[in-house]
């Protein structure tokens, strides 16, 4: 069952067309990874899914982006806040706010109107447990989040995003700024989260994509060249360009 249906999507940055006629069904409660050489439009496409491109001067999106069972056209939602509550995003570089761990996690919940202290406490504990960092930080919830290691910060950012219970989790190369051990931990975490969330993740790392499973889309020059089950895409690519890319002949 698709959670996100994208039909004939195009993205322009002023005169430059960054995405060309993208059609994609993103499956519910599963993981979809995007691979492809740098500059092929993976991040741009991800930003279409929570309308972060609205913030880019001169960016223009066409096509249909239908979210969830109700097939909401996300570009018809008047309040983007509503959309971003349903579609969360984790960035390439961990970007915790310069405030306490507790305040980082409750930032979204408070903004969306939750005031009850007990409820907020519960959200903090649950989110931090979900990202397997609770035991490490439970004694310093009131300390600055900037004191955490890079890997911990990234998990905090994931916790901050799932604290508002989104349906979809967008992740743009969430491990590319991390050391190998933190990378493995985040991968494990993402593997667990895909039971509860629809995860869309950009990755530079093909081993990572194949370890995570699910579906994979191969992007090239703003187009999706091939989209299939991850195992299939890596073992038996249909397109010559996909094969060239995964065998390392370019990119």
């Amino acid at each position: 069952m698709p959670n996100f249906t994208i039909k004939n999507a195009n993205l322009y940055y002023s005169d430059f067309q960054a995405l060309k006629d993208i059609n994609l069904n993103i499956n519910d409660k599963n993981i979809t990874t995007f691979i492809g050489p740098s500059g092929c439009g993976k991040s741009s496409f991800l930003r279409c899914l929570n309308r972060m491109n609205d913030l880019v001067d001169g960016a223009r999106v066409t096509g249909k982006f239908l979210l969830g069972n109700d097939e909401t056209d996300i570009y018809k939602i008047s309040d983007v806040s509503e959309l971003r509550k349903r579609v969360g995003m984790v960035f390439q570089k961990p970007n915790p706010f310069p405030m306490t761990i507790y305040d980082n996690i409750t930032y979204g919940a408070k903004m969306h109107g939750i005031k009850d202290k007990k409820k907020l406490d519960d959200i903090v504990e649950k989110s931090l447990r979900d990202v397997a960092i609770w035991e490490e930080v439970k004694d310093r919830l009131k300390k600055s989040a900037l004191g955490l290691s890079g890997g911990q910060q990234q998990r905090l950012c994931i916790a901050r995003t799932i604290a508002i219970e989104p349906e979809v989790l967008l992740m743009d190369e969430p491990t590319s700024a991390l050391d190998p051990i933190s990378t493995i931990k985040i991968e494990d975490l993402v593997g667990n989260l895909k039971k509860d969330y629809t995860i869309v993740m950009v990755t530079h790392n093909m081993q990572q994509a194949s370890r995570l499973g699910g579906h994979t889309a191969f992007f090239l020059n703003g187009e999706i060249i091939e989209y299939s089950k991850t195992s299939l895409l890596f073992s038996n690519p249909k397109e010559k360009q996909t094969e060239d890319y995964i065998t390392g002949r370019f990119g």
Binding site: M52, V80, G88, F91, P98, M99, Y107
Partner: protein, 274 residues
């Protein structure tokens, strides 16, 4: 090899020489003021309420405080909101913004006597406010506005874009993001700009001399003409030739500025710790 070592040593000597000169000058000034002022400094001279005109600093301390506080009440909110508008809302390509920016830059470089002249012509003469605390306040408020705007803008620019993006991605709007993430992250820089302005206000003479006047009495309201500490120093030196009281006043002035800096450091440290 030897040549390079020699060059290195030479440049070190130059640097230390430079530092030495600046420090020596600074301390000579301090010591000169202290030596000359300390014998004239008394509890009476600073705090007495019934000393003859010009023999107690109390009226000037009150005037200085009133002018500093009220000026900040005008300039700080105005300056911070202008900086927020320029840095967070206005498109950097807009022609108007470019003009505003370069005006601010120019204004911050104008000598204070020009502001004083403007204040004198506009408030004192045209509006007929005569020499008064309010004419002084409205003059120096304009004078420190560019300082606050520029420093606040610098502080806002230093806040990483990724903080804003993280906030938007959670569904926050622009205003909420500024209030909850951007401003708290920039607070140290903003505070520094306020302290800088206070220093500027306490030390200001020309702009206030021409607008708030030189009356040495305790001000009764904002229509009163009244002198700040700096203006007082100027008048007793120039008009009465009394260097003794000027030096004593200078000590008070320096103590005031020093404690303000300490206070600022303290607040900045407190904020950093949280």
């Amino acid at each position: 090899m030897n040549n390079r070592k020699l060059k290195n040593t030479l440049s070190y000597i130059k640097i230390y020489f430079g530092i030495g000169i600046s420090v020596t000058i600074l301390f000579s000034i301090l010591i000169l003021v202290l030596i000359n002022g300390i014998q004239n400094l008394s509890f009476e001279f600073v705090f007495s309420l019934d000393a003859p005109r010009g023999f107690s600093l109390m009226p000037m301390l009150a005037t200085t405080t009133v002018i500093v506080v009220l000026t900040l009440l005008i300039s700080v909110p105005l300056g911070i909101s202008s900086a927020i508008y320029l840095n967070e809302y206005a498109s950097s390509k807009s022609k108007l913004v470019k003009i505003v920016r370069s005006s601010i830059e120019t204004l911050s470089g104008i000598p204070s006597i020009i502001y004083g002249l403007f204040g004198f012509l506009f408030y004192v003469i045209v509006l007929g406010w005569s020499w008064s605390i309010r004419a002084g306040i409205f003059t120096v408020a304009i004078m420190i506005l560019p300082i606050i705007i520029r420093a606040t803008e610098e502080a806002l620019k230093a806040v990483p874009m990724s903080y804003r993006m993280g906030s938007y991605a959670l569904g926050a709007g622009k205003f909420y993001t500024i209030r909850k993430v951007v401003l708290p992250a920039a607070i140290n820089g903003i505070l520094a700009s306020i302290i800088l302005s206070i220093g500027r206000l306490i030390g200001e003479t020309a702009a206030l001399l021409l607008t708030a006047g030189t009356l040495l009495d305790m001000p009764v309201n904002l229509q009163s003409s009244a002198a700040t500490l700096s203006v007082f120093m100027y008048t007793i030196t120039i008009e009465q030739g009394d260097m003794n009281r000027a030096y004593a006043t200078a000590i008070v002035l320096m103590a005031l500025v020093l404690s303000l800096n300490l206070l600022a450091n303290f607040i900045a440290k407190r904020l950093k710790r949280d």
